[in-house]
């Protein structure tokens, strides 16, 4: 009860006074600044990939610095002010034990620091509302931050108890905390001799695990030891008033002993370390896409995993192939130890641990590093009479230019190869040959009527075409596409709300039409199988300098720009990011930017299929990993190849939120206003209100 009464007094002294809110405004301003800049850095330079590594880890390391700068301001007055006022004499002559006085002050300061940390959760909740991420690692990091705040508080109280000057208390606390932080900066300097144990005392290393979403008992023990050390030393200082004669020497010996004990506790923590990884595992279930491929299997398939005994990676590999065996009775799995059965490895041509071979009859495909998509692709590929043949059609006239153009699409080609397709580059000016699917990369340069005619004839024979139509593509090609019901327009679409924050001004996030708000202008024929290409892509597709595609009467719109978008003919100004809406010439969106068309060709052949997208950049290596770009392309090729039932079931390559994050310009403005504006301002207003109230009470 006495601690409760004292705690109430301490809490009132902290929360009822302006200091906490002034410090809070400073704290939240810095934390908000880091939140915003780390977020912008993450989406612009980190491409929004892997939110934990590229955003949260940075943010939490920055928050630690903010905490280091603010906690000394919270603890400085704890004992120093009491000494200055003389109220220590009151406390020490009341029926209180020193431990009770310390406990109340420690709890109050720890609660104040935790309250500040709690406010920093608000921007993270906002972020979660924009794109949900798994909360586990964030919770681990906050546990680490609270533990660290508690050890900061313990050290702050110790130094506050040594002086009656608040400034001295704050500065010395800051100094000690910085020292504990920088101990690990120059690790090589302390490699040998007695200095080698110094980095182990560093807070830097002990917080890193928490920031990564991993809770380790040795780190918890470390922070608990710091708190114990600070508290014990502080009690010694408070008890010094009753020292008789010189007890300095025994105290120093005692504190030294305590340090040694803490060292042992730390070593003990290292020895018996338990690890709790709160980072989410990727879902270990097969995607509906893979399951459909397994359902369609019409012959037995053998999957062989080549492992090495006691290799930690074995579990992952055998788990992966095991899930295929569980899902289909036609799949038989064998695990082969390469070292015990080298002949078998040679027979399959395997020279790496962890390799997987998928075999059907005498046809087989081998992967050094297999994943679910590769194995599913191999099963689909081996089930076909022959692999799907995809031709990439570059648009430049000379061979060197074509090669350069092709290099920009290496990631796309790699993805197709992973699926088991055969990918080939078409020579400049040539037709699609015997390819099942042709992908036109840009369509700039000359398209003589003869080449157009060759493609028309190929389509009539059952060919399937994907056109990535860049602005400025050949007029002959555009005219032919228009006749076929997908007319590429000469303008560029600008969508200020949906552009990538910090990215180029002509970037734009396009969604399937049903998802664009207030979208009634782009009707689509119901029941069209092509709708499945984009309907599941809720993250949208990131395009760059896209052109509108005017759909024909029976064409299906796959992607459209947002309702705030508009089209301009001034491509130069658009690209320089200085275009503004001109009511006399520019048109208001939304505009279709990807369109699918299907038409009968007669003579018993299946219908001809074609997809036209108003942009080629989105399929290049630099863009392929953004949002749902890759899935949109693979779905398009799947629909064109006639795998209609697989298209809608494709497993997502990347987990939204965790592995892929997109920040639009509008969202960035909101983040800035909330984190750097609203929260610090609210804290400052509370401080102001308290100052005014105090003035009025006088």
């Amino acid at each position: 009860m006495r601690v409760g009464a004292l705690l109430r007094k301490e809490l009132h002294a902290l929360f009822g006074q302006p200091l906490l809110y002034v410090v809070g405004a400073f704290f939240l301003l810095l934390a908000g600044y880091y939140f915003y800049t780390d977020l912008v850095f993450f989406v612009t330079f980190g491409f929004g990939e892997n939110i934990f590594e590229n955003f949260f880890q940075l943010l939490f390391v920055d928050l630690r610095l903010v905490l280091l700068l603010t906690v000394p301001l919270l603890t400085m007055r704890a004992f120093a002010e009491e000494k200055k006022l003389g109220t220590t004499e009151m406390l020490f002559t009341w029926p209180l034990r020193d431990g009770e006085i310390l406990a109340a002050k420690f709890l109050a300061c720890a609660l104040a620091a935790s309250a500040l940390l709690a406010v920093t959760v608000v921007p993270l909740l906002w972020l979660h509302r924009q794109q949900a991420y798994p909360p586990g690692p964030v919770a681990a990091a906050y546990l680490g931050l609270v533990l660290m705040a508690m050890s900061f508080v313990a050290i702050g109280l110790l130094l506050s108890s040594l002086t009656d000057n608040q400034v001295v208390a704050a500065m010395s606390t800051l100094g000690v905390l910085l020292l504990l932080w920088v101990l690990s900066w120059n690790e090589s300097a302390g490699e040998s001799g007695w200095l080698s144990w110094l980095p182990r005392l560093s807070m830097f290393d002990h917080f890193e695990g928490f920031a990564r979403g991993v809770v380790e008992t040795r780190d918890v023990v470390y922070f608990a030891c710091l708190v114990a050390f600070g508290a014990t030393a502080c009690l010694q200082v408070l008890g010094a008033r009753s020292w008789r004669g010189s007890r300095l020497a025994p105290t120093l010996v005692g504190l030294g002993g305590l340090l040694v004990a803490l060292g042992f506790a730390g070593a003990f923590g290292e020895r018996w370390n338990a690890r709790f990884d709160l980072t989410p595992e990727r879902r270990h279930t097969l995607s509906p896409h893979t399951r459909r491929i397994l359902e369609r299997l019409d012959a037995d398939v053998e999957i062989v995993a080549f492992v090495r005994s006691a290799d930690p990676a074995n579990a992952w590999t055998t788990g992966l192939v095991g899930r295929f065996a569980e899902a289909s009775p036609r799949v038989h799995v064998r695990t082969v130890d390469v070292n015990r059965n080298p002949a078998m490895a040679r027979r399959y041509g395997i020279d790496a641990y962890g390799a997987v071979v998928v075999a059907r009859g005498d046809r087989k495909r081998a992967f050094r590093q297999a994943n679910e998509e590769m194995i599913a692709g191999a099963l689909q590929d081996l089930g076909r009479a022959r692999p799907l043949s995809v031709a990439l059609v570059p648009d430049d006239l000379d061979a060197a230019g074509a090669l350069d153009r092709g290099r920009e699409f290496k990631a796309l080609a790699g993805s197709l190869v992973d699926q088991g397709d055969v990918v080939r580059m078409v020579a400049p000016g040539a037709g699609p040959g015997e390819a099942d699917v042709a992908v036109v990369l840009g369509g700039a340069g000359a398209w003589p009527m003869s080449r157009v005619a060759a493609f028309e004839a190929w389509l009539a024979r059952g060919g399937r075409l994907l056109v990535l139509a860049e602005a400025g593509s050949a007029p002959e090609l555009a005219a032919w596409l228009a006749r076929r019901g997908a007319d590429p327009q000469p303008e560029a679409v600008l969508d200020p709300d949906n552009r990538l924050h910090g990215g180029e001004g002509v970037s734009m996030r396009a969604f399937p039409p049903a998802q664009t708000s207030a979208d009634t202008a782009v009707p689509a024929p119901a029941g069209d199988s092509a709708r499945a290409v984009a309907s599941g892509l809720d993250q949208g597709v990131l395009l760059s300098l896209a052109r509108p595609i005017a759909p024909g009467p029976d064409a299906t719109t796959l992607l459209a720009s947002g309702s705030g978008s508009w089209a301009t003919r001034d491509l130069d100004r658009a690209q320089r990011g200085v275009a503004s809406f001109d009511t006399t010439v520019d048109a208001r969106g939304p505009f279709p930017v990807a369109v699918a068309q299907e038409w009968p060709v007669g003579n018993g052949s299946p219908a001809a299929r074609m997809i036209v997208v108003g942009d080629a950049d989105f399929a290049t290596d630099g863009f392929l990993d953004f949002l749902d770009n890759r899935d949109f392309l693979l779905n398009s090729i799947g629909w064109l190849a006639g795998d209609d039932d697989l298209v809608a079931l494709r497993g997502r390559r990347k987990e939204v939120g965790r592995e892929q994050f997109f920040l639009s310009a509008a969202q960035a403005r909101e983040a800035l206003a909330l984190a750097v504006g609203v929260l610090p301002l609210l804290s400052a207003l509370v401080a102001l209100a308290l100052v005014v109230r105090r003035r009025l009470a006088r």
């Binding site: 009860m1 006495r2 409760g4 009464a5 004292l6 109430r8 007094k9 009132h12 002294a13 009822g16 006074q17 006022l85 003389g86 109220t87 220590t88 004499e89 009151m90 020490f92 002559t93 009341w94 029926p95 209180l96 034990r97 008033r241 009753s242 008789r244 004669g245 105090r694 009470a697 006088r698």
Partner: protein, 319 residues
């Protein structure tokens, strides 16, 4: 109630208390006198359990300090010399805190807070922040917190320092009212405070207890000087002739009284044990002589010293 035996305390080379011993009976009000630096505050801090003595023992309210300083603190109410208080706290909140810490029985808190608020006259300022109160009110708040737990012993270090005369009177009244029920030890520079409320004084000098005396005994010291004064009007030479004829008195000096008259000071030739009685006899004789000689008698009688004179004399100092 308080037994102090051979207590000593040093701060570095300075010996603040040197083998001090005394006892205080239950219900007694004791004043601790002494010049600055004489060890008063150190002694009071030891009695309140703030720090232990280097040597010696003390028992306060039945508990040996060395055994259980915590229990001593529960039984002693203390107003420190600087009366340190948390300026941002309201009076009510502060008394509530003091009650929660000093009184284990929660059910009596409200009643005790109301009681000390009334006794110390704090009703009008209960809601105000302590930092905004006058010095007098702050002193009352300090005394209220010391009294709130109905302590066996109340220790007040310089309770009247900085108060105006009316407040001093109020405080004396308050402390005098406690006598008999609560044992009180108060330190002061002001002899009048001690004389008006204390039963006994302890005088400390340079860490040593130089006198422990009842106040009424001290009052007797006031006239124990063997000196007599006469104030009259006339010529100084003639007065000297008039007084020279006294057998048991000797003229020490005749001077102007500052108001156009004369002031003659006489001392006994042989100081006696019953000095006061003898002096009064001599005064009557002088009066008769003056009246016979036609001298107007403005004042005649034994010279009374102030308590301060006694105090300084006892300490061997000079005014």
């Amino acid at each position: 109630m308080i037994e102090v035996h051979e207590i000593s305390k040093s701060f570095g080379p300075t010996r603040a208390l040197d083998a001090v011993s005394f006892t205080v009976a239950e219900g007694e009000v004791v004043g601790l006198l002494g010049p600055n630096g004489s060890g008063k505050t150190t002694l009071l801090r030891i009695l309140t359990g703030f720090f232990p003595p280097d040597a010696g023992q003390a028992t306060v309210a039945g508990v040996r300090l060395a055994d259980d300083p915590f229990e001593v603190r529960r039984r002693v109410g203390y107003l420190p010399e600087r009366n340190p208080l948390w300026p941002e706290m309201s009076v009510a909140r502060f008394l509530s805190l003091a009650a929660r810490i000093r009184i284990p029985d929660r059910s009596t808190h409200a009643e005790r807070i109301a009681a000390v608020t009334r006794e110390c006259g704090l009703e009008d300022v209960a809601g105000r922040a302590i930092g905004n109160l006058s010095k007098g009110y702050r002193q009352r708040v300090g005394i209220a917190q010391a009294m709130i737990g109905r302590p066996h012993v109340l220790v007040l270090d310089e309770p009247t320092a900085g108060l105006d005369p009316a407040q001093v009177l109020e405080l004396r009244h308050l402390v005098a009212g406690l006598g008999g029920r609560t044992t009180v030890v108060l330190s002061s520079h002001i002899l009048a405070d001690v004389a008006s409320v204390c039963d006994r004084v302890l005088i400390l000098q340079s860490g040593k207890l130089v006198l422990a005396e009842r106040v009424d005994a001290l009052r007797r010291e006031v006239v124990r000087s063997g000196e007599l004064v006469l104030r009259t009007r006339g010529a100084a030479g003639a007065l000297g002739t008039l007084l020279a004829g006294l057998s048991d008195l000797r003229v020490r000096g005749i001077e102007s009284d500052g108001r156009g008259g004369l002031l003659a000071r006489l001392v006994q030739v042989e100081p006696e044990a019953a000095a006061e009685l003898a002096l009064e006899e001599s005064a009557a004789e002088i009066a008769r002589r003056c009246v016979a000689g036609g001298w107007p008698v403005l004042e005649v009688g034994p010279r009374r010293r102030t308590l301060e004179d006694v105090f300084v004399e006892l300490l061997g100092g000079e005014r």
